[in-house]
Amino acid sequence: MDLITEKIKKTSLSTKQDRFGKAISILALLFIAAIVVMIFAFVITRGFATFTSNKINVFDFLFGTNWNPSVVDKKTGLPGVGAAPLIIGSLAVTFLAALIATPFAIGTAVFMTEVAKKRGAKIMQPVIELLVGIPSVVYGVIGLTVVVPFVRSIFGGTGLGILSGTIVLCVMILPTITSMTVDTLKAVPRHYRESALAIGATRWQMIYKVILRAATPGILTAIVFGMARAFGEALAVQMVIGNAANMPESLVSPSATLTSVLTMGIGNTVMGSLQNNVLWSLAMILLLMSLVFNILIRWIGSKGELK
């Protein structure tokens, strides 16, 4: 009898295996979480060095308009660390790109889910997938060889600037917004459509007055996702924006974004110097902005659920 009780009470081989497997998979998960925490910890500590060890005023950094960290400004006696031109450049390309891409994205999504389902699945689905797959440097090359000369021929100047950046980004975030909008449109219950059509609405009335309204929170989430991608995009923008870190005078004058200054600068500065620290502060802004976009997405999501 004792032998059997002992045998039953003892952990079996498969229980041990199960525990082992569970432990391994938890470890993998913890690893991912640890990386995220580490990224935030390291970038933020380095980013704060500008304000702690170099004694730069946070407001001078955020709202100053003179970006030239290697030259000391004669008037103030401080190096030019005003990041406002870059922040404005980043925000400008992001919002303009989202503004232009959104109608196209919603139109394409409506085409795929409401107007032409078969052709949508057959033609547009692969089109959207391929657009997502094209690497950002290729977008940059196209921007440099097509968009920039085109802008130059219409507005004169160099052609580099916020407008070119906007056009390139617009195509880049279009598939992101479209595919997420398609998902939300598909999630709108079928009886919404049937009831709208049953009371005599045309297809467009049904789309405009019922489906798009019901899907608004989802569409907003899609747009914020697109903006997050646009804000963090580095190389394609850097290639067409002109990399002149002064206050953007117009949409077609060379300017700069946070990411473009980062990609150009990090390799040319010495670790620990002021010039390097301010770049890390820029990276910190990028990181915090991506967090803000995430919170915004969650907030929209929770608002949408209440309805």
Partner: protein, 295 residues
């Protein structure tokens, strides 16, 4: 305008929008391929790049891209698989810590890749003194790839019906055995599709690599396959400019006379490889499904 005309106009506009999006894609693909294909030759694909004179190729960059891709996949796949198994098979749906981890994966997937690159630069290149190296690059790519891959594997696992798990439990298998012997084999086709699609993303990534794998491609000795020699193609400690980084580099600061030809050819190669990944992903999945299920 009455409702019927409005409906017709709107339908027309929607068709026009969808058409123009498709047109933009085809125009871009055609542009890249038409400009690039004439410059492709065996010499271009295999010879080393030249910085000052015309006639350079992209051989080393192409090799580096694939090598980095394979290394990054080797590192990220087991981790992503483990994380996805936990999230889909073990995790309780609404526990606090699972939602924290899910949030951190979401945050990770929306990190700008340039920030990932800078983090890799700070930790691996500077702190761990690995220098600009394949290893630093592979780890940066892993960070870039992990959230995408985890989510795609988790989706694959969640598509396996619960009936299979119950069948496993009914046979007296532990949860782990059920995962290993039933769930994973059943989801192999869709996992493979996800892996190949994410490989396409990794192959084209450049921003995370500029300051981790570096922007130089030293000459390699393709007869030396000892990974501990610096000139060996397999050495993980050598700097390695990838194809995507090369395209960016020559467009922003290249000085050879045939920049536009090299850039066009390299872009065409990059696009072709990425398209191949995209097309083969589904095919490979379907093929595996047929092989494995006799369906």
């Amino acid at each position: 305008m009455n409702a019927k005309t409005a409906d017709k106009v709107a339908t027309g506009v929607i068709y026009a929008i969808a058409g123009s999006v498709a047109l933009v894609l085809f125009a871009m693909l055609a542009f890249i391929l038409v400009r690039g294909l004439p410059h492709l030759s065996w010499h271009f694909l295999t010879s080393a790049a030249r910085s000052f004179e015309a006639g350079g190729g992209i051989g080393i960059q192409l090799f580096n891209s694939f090598y980095l891709l394979i290394l990054a996949m080797l590192i990220s796949f087991p981790i992503a698989l483990g994380a996805a198994i936990y999230l889909n098979e073990y995790a309780k749906k609404n526990s606090l810590w699972v939602s924290i981890v899910r949030t951190s994966i979401e945050v990770m997937s929306s990190l700008p890749s340039v920030v990932v690159g800078l983090f890799g630069f700070l930790i691996f290149v500077v702190k761990f003194k690995l220098g600009f190296s394949i290893l630093s690059g592979a780890i940066a790519l892993t960070i870039f790839n992990l959230p995408i891959l985890t989510r795609s594997i988790e989706t694959s696992l969640s598509q396996i019906p619960n009936l299979q798990r119950e069948a496993g439990a009914a046979l007296g298998l532990s949860r782990f055995e059920t995962v290993i012997h039933i769930i994973l084999p059943a989801s192999v086709p869709s996992i493979v599709t996800g892996v190949v699609i994410s490989a396409g993303r990794v192959f084209g990534e450049a921003a995370a690599l500029i300051y981790t794998a570096g922007q130089s491609a030293p000459t390699l000795d393709f007869t030396d396959w000892n990974p501990f020699n610096m000139a060996s193609p397999l050495s993980p400690f050598r700097p390695a400019e990838t194809l995507a980084v090369h395209i960016w580099k020559i467009n922003s600061e290249g000085i050879m006379p045939d920049i536009s030809e090299v850039s066009a050819g390299a872009s065409a190669v990059l696009i072709i490889v990425v398209l191949l990944f995209n097309f083969s992903a589904r095919r490979l999945g379907q093929l595996l499904y047929k092989k494995l299920t006799k369906a």
